[in-house]
């Protein structure tokens, strides 16, 4: 095998037509879901959101708001944590997938990249990618591996190494690349910026954006880093305490005074506030 090129030419991938802006068909609709853990802990208290095909939708909110729970409700991974969708529906391509088996959700084309990377440490980089193909029945696995290496050339360099010895940034790339091996229609990304240096965050988000444009992969992006998430998303939702409190196209959110203050850390005049001030605001807002 030859080293894949790193040039910006998109690789053709069968079955994923280029996205045309504006022609937004709905891929996923979450209708007023309630999620409970262990039958008693109510975490999502009626969450609704819509993910249009081919777009990047950001789901923002502070720690503990229920963002990861929302993603797990969609991917079916709640069941592994004694959680379930108690009310509402999750419609994906005309089918209700609430409380579906995670493997069947993956087969339908939805894959979640878990928070904290969660790569298989004792497997090589290439073996990690290989696990992503377990539900595949077609023979295009080799081409897709080339596609992942095309977006993440660093993974190609490390393909024979144990993933546990990769750097944090490389592990995040691997977690995303591994999910791409599923050849998803909808990619659920949970805090890809977590614990990474700003330069790396920029690099990874640029690649995520390219994947969205070139592969036509729809993305639901959970982030605490609102600034970087809103820089790539088409629309966004803001979640607090198990509820959606703001939603709209990115331009609208960026100009919303609350979002500016609490999530982007900007004052009315648009200058950056110090982190301490923002934190104080947040605290005040919580107890109000």
């Amino acid at each position: 095998m030859t080293q894949p090129t790193t040039a910006g030419t998109p690789l053709p991938v069968a079955g994923s037509p280029p996205v045309t802006a504006g022609a937004a068909q709905t891929l996923l609709t979450v209708n007023n879901i309630e999620v409970v853990y262990q039958d008693v802990i109510l975490v999502l208290k009626g969450v609704s959101l819509t993910v249009p095909k081919g777009q990047i939708v950001a789901l923002l909110g502070t720690n503990g708001a229920g963002k990861s729970t929302t993603l797990k409700a969609i991917s079916g991974l709640l069941s592994a944590e004694e959680g379930h969708v108690r009310q509402g529906s999750i419609i994906y391509r005309g089918r209700d997938i609430a409380n579906a088996d995670p493997a069947s959700v993956v087969q339908a084309g939805i894959v979640q990249v878990l928070e904290g990377r969660r790569i298989f440490k004792h497997l090589t980089v290439e073996e990690n990618l290989r696990v992503g193909t377990i539900t595949r029945r077609d023979g295009a696995v080799r081409e897709d591996m080339e596609m992942v290496y095309h977006y993440f050339p660093r993974l190609y360099e490390r393909r024979r190494q144990l993933a546990g010895y990769c750097s944090g940034g490389e592990q995040q790339m691997l977690a995303i690349g591994r999910a791409l091996m599923v050849r998803p229609q909808l990619l659920l990304l949970d805090e890809p910026s977590l614990g990474l240096a700003p330069m790396l965050v920029q690099e990874i988000f640029a690649i995520v954006q390219r994947i969205n444009v070139e592969q036509g992969t729809t993305i639901l992006l959970v982030e605490q880093n609102a600034r970087v998430a809103l820089s790539v998303a088409h629309s966004g939702y803001i979640m607090e305490n198990g509820r959606i409190v703001q939603e709209g196209p990115v331009e609208q959110l960026k100009n919303n005074p609350d979002v500016k203050e609490f999530y982007l850390g900007l004052t009315e005049s648009g200058t950056r506030k110090s982190y301490r001030d923002v934190k104080a605001y947040r605290r005040r807002k919580r107890y109000m």
Partner: protein, 295 residues
């Protein structure tokens, strides 16, 4: 010197069988963190079933063995589905107690059907010794070694080269992450039980052909698997192989050199002495997983 060489060779032959038996044990532990105390009993039961097919039903030996292996693969899937799946997420001790119970049940069945006596597997190889240098080997020893080595090689290829095998290792590493990629963890548990019973029965048949069949003797291999896997590292397949070989060699060296001196048999005690010594020095065994920490 010749005597030493002979003991080493015998030790490697029997050790390769322990390695095969240990592999199945490690597999179940790696996938589902279940310590299977019934492993030796499945091994013994499978060997007796193959024996019964070959003697009572008068099937040819090789087809009897292959049929038994297939049946035990299926039995592994069934045991996982019926006995262990309801226990997923329960306390470790509950799962251990169930496997201990399973062990008693299987032993009981074997005593009922075959009693405590010794049986001989029908001969299917000529009994002419093969002499290499000064070392004597029976054809059965050689075949046993070849079968163990071939199966161990096959399993390691499976874990390295097949997507299912790689996914099994992934489940051992991070179950939820594997689930997120569409790996059916239940299927992985089931397959690991299937493979574990196949490896156990293969080991039992080899031992049974080399020596003899008895309920007590065969299920005792399940106990010897413990030093083998713990010496190697409870969750390491290569460790199981090295551990198995080590225990086999030590047993034979003890029987050859130490037992005649003392006039008592220490061969079955030595593996456990080694076990304790190694655990004191390396608590994760020689090859056990140590958390990878990036520098």
């Amino acid at each position: 010197m010749d005597f030493l060489l002979q003991l080493l060779v015998n030790g490697l032959v029997i050790g390769s069988v322990y390695a095969l038996a240990a592999l199945g044990f490690v597999l179940i532990y790696k996938a589902s963190r279940v310590l299977n105390f019934a492993h030796g009993d499945f091994l013994a039961l499978g060997t007796f079933v193959a024996f019964a097919l070959a003697t009572s039903l008068r099937l040819p030996v090789i087809p009897s063995i292959i049929l038994t292996l297939v049946c035990f693969f299926v039995l592994g899937l069934v045991v996982e589905r019926v006995v262990l799946r309801p226990l997923i997420g329960k306390e470790v001790i509950a799962v251990i107690m169930v496997s201990v119970g399973l062990s008693s049940v299987i032993k009981g069945i074997m005593y009922l059907v075959w009693g405590p006596g010794y049986f001989l597997f029908p001969e299917f190889l000529p009994d002419v010794p093969i002499i290499i240098g000064d070392v004597y080997l029976s054809p059965m020893h050689l075949l046993g070694l070849a079968i163990s080595a071939a199966l161990l090689g096959l399993f390691s290829l499976f874990f390295k080269r097949s997507t299912l095998g790689v996914a099994m290792r992934a489940v051992a590493d991070d179950q939820q992450a594997a689930l997120s990629l569409g790996v059916s963890v239940r299927k992985i548990f089931a397959v690991s039980w299937g493979i574990a019973l196949v490896s156990a029965v293969a080991a039992g048949v080899v031992v049974g052909s080399i020596t003899s069949l008895s309920t007590e003797g065969l299920s005792a291999i399940g106990i010897l698997v413990f030093p083998a896997v713990i010496v190697g590292g409870l969750d390491s397949v290569p460790g199981a192989v090295v551990g198995g070989l080590l225990i086999g060699v030590l047993e034979n060296l003890t029987a050859g050199f130490i037992d005649p001196l003392l006039g008592v048999s220490l061969r079955s005690v030595v593996p456990f002495i080694v076990l304790v010594l190694i655990l004191m020095m390396k608590p994760y065994g020689l090859f056990g997983t140590v958390e990878i920490e990036r520098v």
